[in-house]
């Protein structure tokens, strides 16, 4: 009697085991399937455009006017690169210094406080940054910064977007860099300080080098984030498809191109295809960056090992 209930219990458990394995296996393959499906859909939907126009010509043409069937992506590409490079130039030093402060200088309650501030900052939706920038950064740039260098601007434009995007990605880069700095063994610090190096020399020649791979990939991931940012640029860039001639000029980035043209032109198949192609470009670039970060991290780790 006891034996029979026992075996039926075992049978039930094994059945659950088998069913759950099936389900979990499916879930494991789901990640790959999702990736393949996204790539396939984007490529498939870009084909109508690619079969009709040459890629090189589209990427180098400055003329973007979907209603006239001219698809030049150059202005948006230039705008995206401007924004990405500028915000990384502004954001990276601050992020690095703050990460060093949190990992090496701050102690006790200050440390908990500052690092939870950073966590909060990283969780704030970017649309809120955009909204606050509309009342703070836009007047600042339009009324003070632009006149100060002798140019007139409304405040909407490349510089404003870069500034706000720098603020948006900084916490993200900080938390990744802090992670790799804190993963370093204390012996590294002790040895360096023990042979007479100052704290700054320890940080510069030992810690930054040992944590280098992690920090590099943090910066590259941050770059990828700015590259694909949509909402903040759409709110602040001014939305004119032209190659920006100054930092204060309005422009367009690849994601904002999608936002500003999707609504009205969704019904025209070729425009739709062009905008999906923009999505494909974004995906490819961000993935290349991701991949680059991975390879670089592996390389540097071998070179700067401790």
């Amino acid at each position: 009697m006891v034996e029979s209930t026992d075996t039926s219990g075992l049978r039930r458990r094994l059945r659950i085991e088998r069913l759950s394995e099936l389900w979990l296996r499916l879930a494991g393959y789901f990640a790959i399937a999702l990736f393949v499906l996204i790539v396939f859909t984007l490529v498939h939907r870009s084909l109508p455009l690619l079969s009709e126009y040459s890629v090189v010509q589209m990427l180098t043409s400055t003329d973007w006017d979907p209603s006239q069937n001219s698809f030049g992506f150059l202005p948006a590409i230039v705008g995206t690169v401007y924004v990405a490079v500028l915000s990384m130039l502004m954001g990276t030093p601050i992020a690095l210094l703050t990460a060093i402060y949190i990992a090496e200088y701050a102690e006790g309650r200050t440390k908990t406080l500052v690092s939870s501030f950073i966590d909060v900052l990283a969780a704030i939706p970017s649309v809120i940054f955009g909204l606050v920038a509309l009342v703070v950064v836009v007047p600042l740039v339009g009324n003070y910064l632009a006149p100060a260098v002798g140019s007139s601007a409304t405040g909407l434009g490349i510089l404003t977007v870069s500034l706000v995007m720098a603020i948006v990605v900084t916490p993200f880069m900080i938390s990744l860099s802090v992670e790799s700095l804190e993963a370093l063994p204390d012996e590294l610090r002790e040895t360096s300080l023990g042979v007479g190096a100052t704290k700054w020399e320890t940080i510069r020649s030992v810690l930054l080098r040992a944590a280098g791979p992690g920090i590099f990939s943090a910066v590259l991931l941050g770059f990828g984030r700015v590259f694909g940012a949509t909402i903040v640029p759409a709110m602040l860039i001014g939305g004119q498809t032209q190659i920006p001639d100054s930092l204060f000029a309005t422009g367009q980035t690849l994601p904002t191109l999608i936002v500003s043209d999707f609504g009205e032109l969704m019904s025209i198949p070729i425009t739709q295809s062009a905008l999906i192609f923009v999505g494909l470009m974004l995906v490819v670039v961000v993935w290349l960056f991701n991949f680059g970060a991975m390879v670089l991290q592996r390389r540097l780790r071998r070179r700067w090992q401790y």
């Binding site: 759950s20 601050i94 701050a106 969780a123 100052t198 709110m235 999505g279 991701n290």
Partner: protein, 286 residues
């Protein structure tokens, strides 16, 4: 400048940078709370009143449609992606899959994790067009769950990985099946899993780019699964560019609501993580 002066200078610089970051955050939260709070204090009812017929133009009524839309889109989406993420992360543990397979899946997950949200939006929209449907609450849910899935999987995978090996070894030692062991491991990693799910929820509720084209950007109350809806971030995005003072004011009120929700979620995640620490071997007992 001698080396000690350099050391001092660098210390000052690092502190100044941290101060700047904290200051910027105080400005962002302060401005949102202040401007949004002013609008809400003047008329708190706009949060729970449905929009009027001329909402987009004159801001008649309130933005309850967006509050409801956010809840109805992000809530179900979180459940869907939670189940998927938990399953994928469990599968990635070495008990089920080979090391090589889980490395490969992790690579795809990293790539998905870094994919811009707008791409998910475009992806779901092409599906909408392919099946001949129109943008609706349902597709908003799909878009947000696709967006949250890699984020949650990454957090949960990390949490499961950091669960002590002794849990696994002792449950196997008692004759448990893999699934039973996986359940015990998940329990030991519960604080991390809960934190991951809440962070995914917070990211989902704050994202506008994925739902911008998929949920329908409607200015009416959502009245069905396959009817257009909107969410708070999309409402903020649309309203902030309005020419009408009243409509713009609603954007600030909505961002007040959104920031309170996100900050609240972070607090809840900290509290829950502390509470669930009792299941972690060697963790704090509640």
């Amino acid at each position: 400048m001698d080396r000690y002066a350099k050391q001092r200078a660098f210390g000052v610089l690092a502190r100044a940078a941290a101060g700047l970051v904290v200051f910027v955050m105080a400005v962002v939260i302060g401005v949102t709370i202040f401007r949004g709070g002013r609008v809400l204090l003047a008329d708190p009812s706009i949060v729970i009143s449905p929009p009027g017929s001329r909402y987009a133009l004159e801001g008649t009524g309130g933005f309850f449609h967006a509050v409801l839309g956010s809840a109805l889109i992000v809530g179900p989406a979180t459940v869907v992606s939670m189940v998927l993420a938990l399953s994928t992360a469990t599968y990635l543990q070495s008990d089920y899959s080979s090391e090589r397979f889980s490395d490969a899946v992790n690579m795809f997950l990293n790539v998905l994790w870094a994919t811009p949200p707008i791409v998910y939006g475009v992806f779901v929209l092409t599906i909408v067009i392919a099946v001949g449907a129109r943008t609706s609450l349902f597709f908003g849910i799909i878009a947000i769950s696709v967006f949250q899935y890699p984020i949650m999987t990454r957090y949960i995978d990390e949490a499961l990985r950091s669960a002590p090996d002794t849990v696994r070894e002792s449950t196997y030692g008692l004759g448990a099946t893999r699934f039973e062991t996986a359940k015990m491991t998940a329990r030991a990693a519960l604080p991390g899993i809960v934190a991951g799910i809440i962070m995914g929820f917070a990211r989902g509720i704050g994202d506008a780019a994925t739902v911008l084209f998929t949920a329908g950007r409607s200015t009416n109350m959502p009245n069905g699964l396959f009817e257009p809806a909107t969410t708070l971030p999309v409402l903020i995005f649309d309203n902030s560019m309005s020419f009408n003072e009243e409509v713009r004011a609603h954007a600030y009120a909505a961002s007040f609501v959104l920031i309170v929700v996100v900050l609240g979620l972070i607090v809840v995640s900290r509290l829950l993580a502390g509470r669930f620490a009792q299941y972690v071997p060697g963790g704090r007992h509640a």
